[in-house]
């Protein structure tokens, strides 16, 4: 009787699991598109984009995917779909504004290569699974904006997991001790009666598997699962990005076009997107997401842009540093012209960083006092040319500190922990402090000091800024 019930329950659980997984597979594309707030655009509205997609899918021998746009200033793009017949290419409004035809073709070719290589199937399913895995943490962070509560929950669940692990170790030690002390009695019990044998194995198995499962599950559900998922996704996606870059070049025959587009997009990625973190690995470049806490740090979903650009440069005949710098400057300018969060669209392109009181209104790229803000090394003459093996690959100086810096104006400035004036103050910065610019998040500028302290300055802080 008991056995039949157990089997029934098991069967029901199994069927339900398969059903959920199947539903998730079927709905994955739609779920991802909804998560990222992408909406379909007609051919008439976005003729250039559509034509790029049509032409390049002809060149790739793929059916033309659907085209979606995300209304975000942050330039980025991704592809979704379980197979090439049901794929979609998604770009942000910012990407369309930032890139010229050449860059757009490079980026679209990259995304189509993801579709052609069937990367999108894995990525789409992964995004959907991650979105589900992140639900508990998301629910927690949404219900409770107090970071202390979240940290407390994570700490408690972590403690439970540690206790579980330790208790298993303890039990195993006890078993070993028992075997050693009463070896004959235990052996007799285990060996002589079948019942004893089964009981022994079941007991040990349950202790080892169910103990930590029950005790550790809160930690796993809250933190471990999504993080493992993202790590796996990141590892997979990092390799596939290189492949998609290479395949894109097969389509466009223009490595420089894609490389410069990547530089531009990398330099312009600053306005944090309102994106679920579960979808981060889908994108062309790693999207900048609002900082939430330590539990979200340290999982890169993409290879460093420098590496990708260096590889692309080696495919062609190298890229001149002037072109790279021009692309970076274009990206940074684009980022700083980001419309303010909640501001009207009319502000677009009119607003330098510090203009709350009319100060620095005409500050622009390259107009300020030139201050070499801790430049590590000068860029090589032509990247991509073979270098002597003793020299390490030269990084392309993407770090925003080289591209652009911010200097605190006449008053001292306050560095907040989060883009929120109510958050903790990390540091007070004296007049003239030079900061590396990392991004623009709503009404805040995300900066890093030379000591490596990252934080947020209010946009109304009087600062001057420039590149190089």
């Amino acid at each position: 009787m008991f056995a039949t019930t157990a089997t029934l329950v098991l069967l029901v659980v199994l069927v339900a699991g398969i059903a959920v997984a199947w539903l998730e597979m079927g709905q994955a594309t739609r779920l991802v598109l909804r998560l990222t707030r992408a909406r379909p655009v007609s051919r008439e509205d976005e003729l250039e984009l559509w034509r790029a997609v049509e032409n390049l899918s002809l060149a790739a021998g793929l059916p033309t995917p659907k085209v979606y746009v995300i209304e975000s200033h942050d330039p980025n793009a991704f592809a979704v779909g379980l197979d090439p017949e049901h794929a979609a290419v998604v770009v942000t409004r910012g990407l369309l504004g930032l890139l010229d035809r050449r860059g757009l073709y490079g980026v679209i070719a990259h995304e189509l290569s993801h579709i052609g290589n069937h990367d999108t199937r894995l990525n789409t399913v992964l995004a959907a699974v991650l979105a589900v895995l992140r639900l508990p943490l998301g629910l927690l962070t949404r219900l409770n904006r107090n970071p202390l509560v979240i940290k407390g929950c994570l700490f408690l669940s972590g403690l439970m997991a540690v206790i579980a692990a330790m208790s298993v170790l303890g039990i195993l030690a006890e078993i070993a001790l028992a075997l050693w002390l009463f070896s004959s009695e235990v052996r007799d019990f285990l060996a002589e009666t079948t019942r004893g044998k089964v009981a022994g194995f079941v007991l040990i198995g349950m202790m080892i598997f169910y103990g930590p499962l029950f005790m550790g599950s809160p930690f796993y559900v809250l933190f471990g699962a999504q993080r493992c998922g993202r790590r796996v996704g990141g590892a997979v996606s990092r390799q596939r990005e290189f492949l998609a870059d290479a395949d894109a070049i097969l389509l466009t025959r223009d490595p420089e076009g894609l490389a410069l587009a990547l530089v531009k997009v990398g330099a312009a990625s600053g306005a944090a997107m309102t994106l679920p973190r579960a979808a981060a690995h889908l994108f062309l470049v790693e999207p900048l997401l609002p900082e939430t806490g330590w539990w979200d740090r340290g999982v890169a979903s993409h290879p460093p842009l420098e590496e990708r650009v260096a590889v692309l440069a080696r495919m062609g005949s190298g890229i001149s540093p002037e072109a790279l710098h021009a692309a970076q400057r274009a990206g940074v300018t684009f980022r700083l012209e980001a419309p303010r969060a909640g501001g009207s669209q009319r502000d677009r392109g009119q607003r330098p960083v510090a203009d709350a009181d009319g100060r620095n209104r005409d500050a622009g790229v390259g107009t300020l006092t030139v201050e070499p803000a801790q430049r590590p090394t000068a860029p090589p003459e032509r990247i991509g040319e073979p270098q002597s093996p003793s020299e390490p690959a030269t990084p392309l100086l993407f770090s925003a500190g080289v591209v652009s810096y911010i200097r605190v104006g006449e008053q001292s400035a306050v560095l907040y922990e989060r883009p929120d004036p109510a958050s903790a103050v990390q540091a007070r910065l004296a007049t003239g402090t030079v900061l590396a610019l990392r991004g623009v998040v709503g009404d805040f500028i995300w900066v890093e000091t030379s000591q490596g302290i990252a934080g947020y300055l209010s946009r109304s802080t009087p600062v001057s800024w420039g590149t190089e």
Binding site: R51, E54, N55, L56, L58, A59, A60, G61, L251, T252, R253, D254
Partner: protein, 210 residues
């Protein structure tokens, strides 16, 4: 089990393996050829679209310059040749001839400012340039599949099967140099020396590139 049995068994096994390998090679060749056909249909659709744009274009110019008979006839001839073209090479040269004829037609249209400014003509021109771009991109995919297929029937496992089972080399779709500077890739020129694909005469009524 004697030594003879063992040898017979080995030979039988080798035979089975050889047959399986032959079947696999044949299937691969068929798949590859079908890919070439499918890729060709990508170009074919665009060529047809281009040909179907021509009458409207001619009509809109004829309204202004009815006396330029020679140009209209040239265009009509080129269009007819494109529609009848058999084989990728023939289609490519017919398409180039049409490009040339259309160049003459637009040169005529240039002489009539009102025609040049007409909404109808600019729309047609836009569509035509879209089609031409698409032909160039589709050509890229087609030539890649042809290269893949031709390599397959000329290299080792394929070459044993190909000629016996009627796998002929496919033709590349090559554009002339005139007015096609925007085309960036030419797989044909990157190909290793070998029988030039255009040397293969199209046999009988043309059904596809192979």
């Amino acid at each position: 089990m004697t030594a003879a049995d063992l040898i017979i068994g080995l030979i039988l096994m080798l035979l089975v393996v050889a047959v399986l390998a032959g079947v696999a090679t044949y299937n691969r060749l068929v798949r590859s050829r079908n890919r070439v056909r499918e890729a060709w249909s990508g170009i074919d659709v665009q060529l047809r679209r281009r040909a179907s744009l021509v009458p409207n274009l001619v009509e809109s110019v004829r309204g202004y310059a009815a006396h330029e008979r020679g140009v209209f006839e040239e265009v009509a001839r080129a269009r007819g040749a494109l529609q009848q073209a058999g084989g990728a090479t023939a289609a490519a040269s017919a398409n180039n001839a049409l490009s040339q004829a259309l160049g003459h037609l637009f040169a005529v249209a240039e002489n009539y400012p009102t025609l040049r400014a007409s909404e109808n003509l600019t729309a047609l021109q836009r569509e035509l340039s879209d089609v031409e771009e698409k032909i160039a991109f589709a050509r890229q995919f087609y030539n890649r599949t042809v290269l893949d297929y031709n390599t397959r029937i000329e290299t080792f496992p394929g070459v044993l099967v190909a000629s016996n089972l009627g796998f002929a080399a496919a033709e590349f779709f090559e554009t002339g140099d005139e007015g096609r500077a925007e085309v960036t890739v030419s797989f044909a020129s990157a190909q290793a020396p070998g029988p030039r694909p255009q040397d293969v005469p199209p046999s009988g009524p043309w059904k596809g590139p192979c």
